[in-house]
């Protein structure tokens, strides 16, 4: 009997598998080897089932144009190139560029020209990328190529910004192209240590791009999330490697999105820190980690992994008693200038080069502004045109209540005042205390498909009675003796008439079983009225009826309703109308903190910088 080696038996079975035979049939022929054969055959089968990576359609078409053009040349008797010629040298780029130019200009010259202004949502955008590539094929100097790639990378960022301003989702193609330009530039510059200026530009450009992309998670089209996380991971790793790090983050680390967390930090375990109640991994992949100290208050940008785990991408420490770095203002645009906007009543909101504008800014439209205090003063970090929906359809909600269950970094659902909020993308401001069971929080949320989705959660310095809830939203109707406010069904106070649909109301309520029962309510704005501005900011000083808050001056009048006792250094939500004298005449004030969370009345940068030369409307 001929003894066959295992190697030979394996080979026969693998060939049989290729012909379509089953693993079991093969094992039955070689029972003596079955135990060793099975895992190897199964593995071969799994490898064979791996889905193939498919080429991008436009790349495939571009290459075909090249082949077709070369074949036509050969048909006409064109010379074959010698076998010794290196296609990777100068002939190939020339051939590719020629073929592409013939294809693009010959067929659609005007199209190529028109494509130069195309945005990623345009059918011409593909042509724009082609022509950019064609330009590179004619560049033979590596440093110059890297420089052009960095320019092209900036062009991608400009396209992304333009899309956001048009309130359009960011598609995959522009993110993929951004990734491509950055990676190619990084690869070239890794080999060019003498190009210090270009390497510095790559580093700075990457930092700015990462800041922008991290702020735009919600603007990314759902179908482009893979490209987004890939681009962010590459840019972050370029920054890490520019700083000499050898570690990197992966797209999987970002699969669950991005969130911002502020709070006191304390160590939990090796590499894990608790930040304002949430456990976050802070390690060599965190930019700014060197500044981390136990007990410090830090501001983190955090990647949410596929399993909900939190990985800090960047970290900066902030002084405990510094003014809040963020304040929110919403109001009506009175004038748009090159460097900011005037809101109705005369408040000027200055923009910086980093200000993210979502939607077109038009006079008379409402905007929501996030103000950021920097060393240069207070500027808008984002300006968002309010959704063009009828007030009665608005389902945005401001909700104040107590966290009812334990908070876990891994669970994105938080129970606040008996309501379940989805918090996976929410900004968490936990400077005033940990986000933990029993903490009082202010939640800004919207209703999406019947679910409450939080956009921000602010932990309050408050010792109020836990059952008290505070709700501000638009009245959407009064079905069956109840009020619908911001998507919540509320039982009205005894004897109270329903406010008109579309009114903005504040309601103080308690929870009774499944029911929200209002104790008090007030109308802040009636439908048809306009010009009400909302401010979330810290009160720096109180002088009788004049309050100095982070975003300017607030005047309390005889008709102002103030809910709670104001504390200098504590935060307040203020609704009011800007007065001709330039301050905000308060209609309704909700005091959020019962203890100071920030420094009071300290001289510092003017919260609202001096008006620009633009004439005030």
């Amino acid at each position: 009997m001929r003894i066959r080696t295992f190697r030979s038996v394996l080979d026969e079975c693998l060939a049989a598998l290729q012909r379509g035979e089953s693993i079991e049939a093969c094992l039955a022929r070689y029972p003596r080897h079955a135990e060793r054969l099975r895992p190897l055959l199964t593995l071969a089968q799994r490898v064979g089932r791996t889905p193939p990576q498919l080429p991008r359609a436009w790349a495939r078409e571009t290459a075909w144009e090249l082949i077709r053009s070369r074949a036509a040349d050969l048909r006409r008797g064109g010379r074959r190139r010698g076998a010794g010629i290196d296609y990777g040298a100068w002939l190939r780029p020339l051939a590719i560029a020629t073929a592409l130019l013939v294809a693009v200009i010959g067929g659609t010259g005007a199209t190529a020209l028109a494509a130069q202004d195309a945005l990623p949502d345009s059918p011409l955008y593909r042509v724009k990328l082609w022509t950019e590539d064609a330009r590179l094929w004619l560049v033979f100097d590596d440093s110059h190529e890297a420089e052009i790639l960095l320019d092209q990378s900036n062009e991608r960022v400009a396209e992304i910004t333009a899309l956001v301003q048009k309130n359009k989702g960011i598609p995959a193609n522009v993110l993929s192209a951004l990734y491509d330009r950055n990676q190619r530039a990084a690869n070239i510059l890794a080999d060019e240590p003498q190009e210090a200026a270009l390497r510095a530009r790559l580093r700075d450009q990457s930092a700015a791009q990462e800041d922008l992309l991290l702020a735009l998670w919600e603007n990314v089209a759902a179908s482009a999330r893979d490209e987004y996380v890939r681009a962010v991971a590459l840019i972050h790793n370029t920054r890490l490697q520019g700083g000499g790090a050898i570690v990197s983050i992966t797209p999987q680390d970002l699969a669950g999105g991005i969130r911002h967390i502020e709070g006191a930090v304390s160590p939990v375990a090796e590499g894990i820190w608790n930040v304002g109640g949430l456990d976050v991994r802070i390690d060599d992949r965190t930019i700014g980690r060197a500044a981390l100290q136990q007990g410090a208050t830090a501001r983190l940008i955090v990647a949410v992994g596929a399993g909900g785990e939190l990985q800090a991408l960047s970290l900066s420490t902030i002084a405990v008693d510094a003014p809040p770095t963020r304040a929110l203002v919403s109001g009506e645009i009175q004038q748009v200038t090159d460097n900011g906007i005037w809101l109705s009543g005369g408040q000027f909101i200055p923009f910086s080069s980093q200000t993210i504008q979502t939607g077109k800014l038009k006079v008379g439209e409402r905007v929501e502004v996030t103000l950021e205090t920097t060393q240069a003063g207070t500027v808008a970090s984002s300006v968002k045109a309010a959704a063009a929906e009828a007030p009665g359809e608005s389902d945005s909600l401001t909700f104040e209540g107590t966290i009812a269950d334990e908070v876990s970094s891994k669970s994105s659902q938080w129970n606040v005042g008996g309501l379940t909020f989805e918090t996976s993308g929410a900004t968490v401001d936990a400077r005033a205390g940990k986000a933990a069971k029993g903490a009082r929080v202010l939640v800004e949320a919207t209703i999406d498909n019947g679910k409450l989705v939080a956009s921000s959660i602010t932990v309050l310095a408050s010792e109020r009675e836990a059952p008290a809830l505070h709700i501000v939203g638009r009245v959407q109707g009064a079905p069956a003796g109840t009020w619908m406010v911001g998507g919540l069904r509320i039982s009205p106070p005894a004897g109270a008439g329903a406010p008109p649909e579309g009114s903005l109301v504040a309601v103080e309520a308690v929870r009774e079983g499944q029911e929200l029962r209002a104790a008090r309510s007030m109308v802040i704005e009636l439908p048809g009225q306009s010009g009400v501005t909302r401010v979330l900011a810290a009160v720096r000083s109180i002088r009788d009826a004049a309050w100095d808050v982070d975003t300017g001056q607030v005047r309390i009048t005889s008709t102002t309703i103030v809910s709670g006792d104001p504390v200098p250094g504590g935060r307040a939500l203020i609704w009011g109308r800007p007065s001709p004298s330039g301050d905000l005449e308060a209609i309704y004030v909700r005091i959020l903190d019962t203890a100071p969370v920030t420094a009071t009345a300290t001289p510092g940068p003017s919260p609202t910088p001096a008006p620009t030369p633009t004439p005030r409307p």
Partner: protein
């Protein structure tokens, strides 16, 4: 003739109903007729017939691209390499003659040589492959065993193999070539390929199923 079995990708054949050993001859016969049809295409392409070139291009560009992508982990480098190989195909197709070496194996030999050139150039430049650093932290070999084998995981696992082991895994189990064709592509004997595939599978198993699962 057995040489043309490569035209049936393993991934495709596994999705088909199981074929009994008795039907193997029929499979080989089908493969043979496919090879003849392809030879006819090649013959026309040698006259620079655009339709035939397009058919060959559609058939092989995605395969060469996938082959390159699995080893380079970079879509742009893979696109460049696939375009290069297809351009070379047009340039050199008249020198191809069917002497037992399937057309696909001929093309993959070009691809393999291009890949070697590329690696050599990169090494000379000391080029940083960012996709490699990404992939290296994608998952540890141990954690790979926990999940189904996906393209990204296969890519990571392939990086832990030697170049020859990687070639055999991709050419045999992804591209579906037989040992003889792989030998011609890699410049090795069929016996060497048999040994290589055994070692490659064992190594891959150690990476993907470290506890022998």
């Amino acid at each position: 003739m057995h040489a043309a079995v490569w035209t049936i990708g393993l991934a495709e054949s596994l999705d088909q109903p199981r074929v009994a050993p008795a039907a193997a001859d029929e499979t080989a016969e089908k493969a043979g007729s496919e090879a003849l049809a392809e030879w006819e295409l090649v013959r026309r392409a040698q006259q620079y017939d655009e339709e035939a070139l397009r058919a060959l291009y559609e058939m092989y560009y995605p395969k060469i691209y996938n082959y390159a992508f699995l080893q380079l982990g970079d879509i742009h480098a893979a696109e460049d390499l696939a375009s290069d190989v297809m351009l070379k195909m047009v340039e050199a197709i008249r020198s191809y003659s069917f002497r037992g070496l399937p057309f696909g194996a001929w093309l993959f030999r070009i691809a393999r040589n291009r890949l070697i050139d590329l690696h050599r150039r990169r090494r000379r430049r000391g080029e940083v492959d960012l996709s490699e650093t990404l992939a290296s932290t994608l998952a540890s070999p141990q954690s790979l065993a926990e999940r189904a084998l996906e393209r990204g995981q296969l890519q990571v696992a392939l990086k832990h193999l030697t170049d020859e082991q990687r070639q055999v895994i991709v050419l045999k189990f992804i591209q579906g070539f037989d040992n003889r064709s792989i030998g011609r592509i890699m410049g090795r004997s069929e016996g060497a390929i048999k040994s290589l595939q055994h070692r490659a599978l064992l190594a891959l198993r150690r990476i993907i199923q470290p506890e022998g699962r």
